[in-house]
């Protein structure tokens, strides 16, 4: 059997005395996909940071592509939320995507034709081939998110981590993101998506991990997203289904 792309074993994270995550378990195979689902502050971003090796674990172990997280970073790509970035920054979409090649290019060398070709291909995969020269900040929110996904694709990752990639994204961009993520998975990359949108979790991922400090379920999307589990995870808070708020009440 292949080495799992990601293996979580009794993972716990604490910030000082505050427990952020405890007893998280699960495995993602190459080409597999899992949606991290839970309310704001549930620890989705913390888990992503832990998988990147950026926060120390209080307990348990994370294995990424058979290695410790920090040692595997070269083959892991992370896609932040586009709206956290400065829209005034003087950088073109093409330059942002080329950042995904920085590790291969090195510090001083000029980008090789292979690097430029990979960046162009990645931008094409998210449907923005003709926008390479446009300034990043002039693109729509959804297009910026697609550029950031293209940057990750250009890095040729074996594990892709996305933090709320569908927030404030229009329908066209949403479909382009889903298609590009699907394309990566066909090439064997595993995908982890933090989202609070259950419908998109359904569309994008085969598996879900229900999270609110501890784990309320991990498994195939259909079987895991049960009303009981959702109620337990959200504790009666509002949750979002394709932009509409739905209240899950305590029974």
């Amino acid at each position: 059997m292949d080495t799992p792309a990601l293996d979580l074993d009794e993972v716990g994270v604490a910030y000082g005395a505050v427990t952020a995550l405890e007893n998280i378990d699960g495995t993602v195979v190459p080409g597999g996909s899992v949606a991290l689902i839970g309310p704001n502050g549930a620890g989705k971003s913390t888990l992503i940071r832990a998988i990147l090796g950026l926060v120390p674990l209080r307990s348990g172990r994370i294995t990424v592509l058979g290695r410790a997280p920090a040692a595997a970073r070269r083959e892991v790509a992370y896609v932040p939320q586009a709206d956290t970035l400065d829209p005034e920054f003087p950088i073109s979409a093409g330059q942002v995507v080329l950042m995904g090649r920085y590790r291969r290019i090195g510090r001083l060398r000029r980008p090789r034709p292979a690097d430029r070709a990979a960046a162009a291909r990645a931008l094409d995969q998210v449907g923005l081939a003709d926008r390479a020269r446009d300034r990043f900040g002039t693109l729509s929110g959804g297009q910026r998110q697609r550029v950031l996904l293209a940057r990750a694709i250009a890095a040729e990752p074996r594990l892709l981590l996305l933090d709320e990639p569908f927030n404030g994204v229009d329908a066209v961009s949403e479909q382009a993101l889903l298609d590009a993520i699907g394309g990566l998975r066909e090439h064997g990359a595993a995908v982890v998506i933090a989202t609070h949108d259950l419908a998109l979790a359904h569309l994008a991922c085969e598996e879900v991990c229900l999270l609110n400090r501890c784990q309320y379920g991990f498994g195939p999307t259909e079987a895991t997203l049960t009303p009981d589990r959702l109620r337990a995870t959200y504790g009666g808070h509002a949750l979002e289904v394709r932009g509409d708020s739905v209240i899950v009440a305590h029974s």
């Binding site: 950026l54 992370y78 003087p90 950088i91 920085y102 001083l108």
Partner: protein
């Protein structure tokens, strides 16, 4: 505008201002994009006790090394403060700035030429730049530019997207320390020539002007360097011309800054015209 520079002291002043203008313009782009203007202002004040202490210990020759020590110490403290966020960042900066500055004032007040020294620190003495100072400025410029070239990709990644850069394995703390140290070096190199009040203008205005004129970093960086150097030359030439030909004494450093601000205003008008034409 060339004739005055045949005199050795004017030639040295010109060379110093051109090197500083180009260097500060380049580094200023980083300050602009990282929004570090206030931190830079703090640095211009915190080198003061180094200048004063260096002078007390070793005379004129100690000034550069004292400023360098204080500047690099501040760079380290600023990096640690902003990393751990024990207190709000601007509060921490303000406390650090005034503590250092007050220490400098106490040190200087022990000397008899107190106000003269303070004035020189605030406004610089560009016309008395020595060959040794020029060499030090050149050395600083080389160190800073080599560091910028070597770190340009990690710095761009960190400046644009800190979270993404950290995830990609860039050491954010070390990069921030490098930036703070580079800014400190520029401040230290500039302080005797143009003074602490004016160095902030050299660091901020050319970069802001270049940013107003272009959306491309490949244009902004060289343009900022060119604007800084040009303002240095023009400001010096204008102040010399005014005092020699017209008997009008204009402080060189101040004139340089006014030229910079004038160029900035022209650029803003130019940008407005360009935008209006673009939407018409």
């Amino acid at each position: 505008m060339i004739a005055p520079f045949t005199q050795p002291f004017m030639a040295r002043a010109l060379a110093e201002l051109i090197v500083l203008g180009a260097l500060a313009g380049t580094v200023g782009v980083l300050i602009l994009l990282r929004r570090l203007a206030f931190m830079t202002d703090a640095l211009t004040h915190t080198v003061f006790p180094g200048v004063a202490g260096g002078y007390l210990l070793a005379g004129e020759g100690g000034v550069f090394w004292g400023a360098l020590a204080a500047g690099l110490l501040t760079a380290v403290l600023l990096t640690l403060l902003t990393r751990h966020r024990a207190v709000a960042e601007d509060t921490a900066l303000a406390v650090l700035l005034t503590t250092f500055f007050a220490t400098g004032v106490v040190l200087v007040s022990r000397e008899s030429g107190y106000t003269t020294d303070l004035t020189a620190f605030l406004f610089g003495r560009i016309l008395t730049v020595t060959g040794q100072q020029l060499t030090q400025t050149l050395a600083v410029a080389v160190v800073a530019l080599v560091a910028l070239v070597f770190l340009r990709r990690p710095l761009l990644a960190r400046t644009f997207d800190p979270g993404g850069a950290e995830a990609a394995g860039h050491r954010i703390g070390l990069l921030d320390l490098a930036v703070n140290a580079i800014v400190a070096l520029v401040v230290v190199a500039s302080v005797r020539a143009v003074g602490t009040v004016l160095v902030i203008a050299l660091l901020i205005v050319p970069a802001a002007t270049a940013r107003a004129l272009s959306d491309r970093l490949a244009v902004i960086v060289p343009l900022a360097a060119l604007l800084g150097a040009t303002a240095g030359w023009a400001g010096l030439a204008v102040s010399y011309d005014a005092s020699v030909r017209h008997g009008l004494r204009l402080a060189s450093g101040g004139t340089v800054v006014l030229v910079l601000v004038g160029l900035h205003l022209i650029a803003l008008v130019g940008r407005r015209l360009r935008l209006t034409r673009g939407t018409a």
